[in-house]
Point group: C2
Chain length 192, copies 2
DNA sequence: AAAAAATATTGACTTGGGTTAAGATTTTCA
DNA sequence: TGAAAATCTTAACCCAAGTCAATATTTTTT
């Protein structure tokens, strides 16, 4: 049950049996059916989540009611509204499942306790955040430098096999283009 | 000399005299004249920098030789090529000064030693990275949701007073539009 | 298996911002 | 201060992607 998250964490820090016990005792398992909400806009965000299986998306709804996907999360990814989680503010993001999914949540207070008792976890999340920060920088640079076609190809490389699990209109949304445009890009790519 | 960086850090963690001494002993001061490079593309990146005064920009040069600005850094901001710094890879970013600037650098080995000896610094940078991550998420959401005019107004809000210190063509570059377009937007704004 | 819902494609038309080019204005520095 | 460099603005034209609308295809549900 905890093997995925433990081996994920132990890629970065080493844990002894007591630490594993403390950490896993803090985890809450949630099972989501397809299209079920994990975090709803406007609610408080008490958990950050590790995806054991399945796939979710985080998006913001704009003033016209349109969704804008900021992140997909499949197996071994972390997802939450990190701003709301850290600020204890209300969520501006919505997170729901694209497939039936299993996630492990850790509560904010537990996480703070974990940082106090096992400071290595500060290190773990510092490293994860550094990588996440760099990934977002690259996404921005890609949007500044590249055509939509190139960004689509980048997406396929960055998230191998994810495309088969997600409808095209969500990929278009993530890329900031209309589904019609993605359809034209895909057509161009198969013809060439 | 160290008062800015120390009060910046002590917003998040408390340091005693020994810790202050250890930390400041690791800092290297660099003074840059306008247009001087801090990090050049292709070089190794041994430092991350805190800006004491002045203003710098980090950008990537694309295959056509065009620059794309990913970040400005003024007083109390951190800047580096964090990917290259952490991976010990060669820099894909270039960083140079927009104004005469003073920065404090900390070397990678020293930072690792600091983490070992004063784990609170892991906490400090974890918190800073969380905020930086959220800021980049917001920048991406802004680019997905908003018109160029709205993004320009967001930039002015997010970086008050910075606009007066930076040429418009760099702001246009940061926003991913042509200077001509920014000029049109600015004209529209004064007329309305 | 049929109906309903969700997803994907295509075509016609429109438009915001890119491109090119020229000139105006401001800043830098010898 | 004056020349050179850097920066900003305006105009004309063009194109990639948005919009709107219709239809096709796939998936889900009953």
């Amino acid at each position: 049950m905890y093997q995925e998250i433990l081996s994920h964490i132990q890629e970065y820090i080493q844990l002894d049996a007591t630490e594993v016990e403390l950490f896993t005792s803090m985890l809450v398992r949630k099972k989501l059916r397809k299209r079920q909400f994990l975090i709803e806009e406007g609610s408080s965000v008490n958990y950050q989540y590790f995806v054991v299986s399945g796939c979710l998306k985080a998006f913001e709804v704009d003033e016209n009611g349109d969704e804008h996907i900021i992140q997909f999360a499949k197996e071994n990814w972390w997802i939450s509204d990190f701003k709301a989680f850290f600020d204890e503010s209300n969520s501006k993001l919505t997170i729901d499942s694209i497939e039936e999914s299993i996630v492990l949540g850790i509560e904010k207070n537990d996480l703070e306790e974990l940082y106090r008792k096992v400071p290595k976890f500060e290190r773990f999340f510092r490293i994860k955040l550094t990588r996440a920060y760099v990934a977002l920088q690259n996404r921005i640079l890609s949007s500044l430098e590249k055509t939509n076609e190139e960004q689509y190809l980048d997406f396929q490389k960055a998230y191998p096999n994810l495309e088969q699990r997600i409808p095209n209109y969500m990929i278009a949304n993530y890329l900031g283009i209309q589904p019609e445009s993605l359809s034209r890009i895909r057509k161009r790519l198969v013809n060439n």
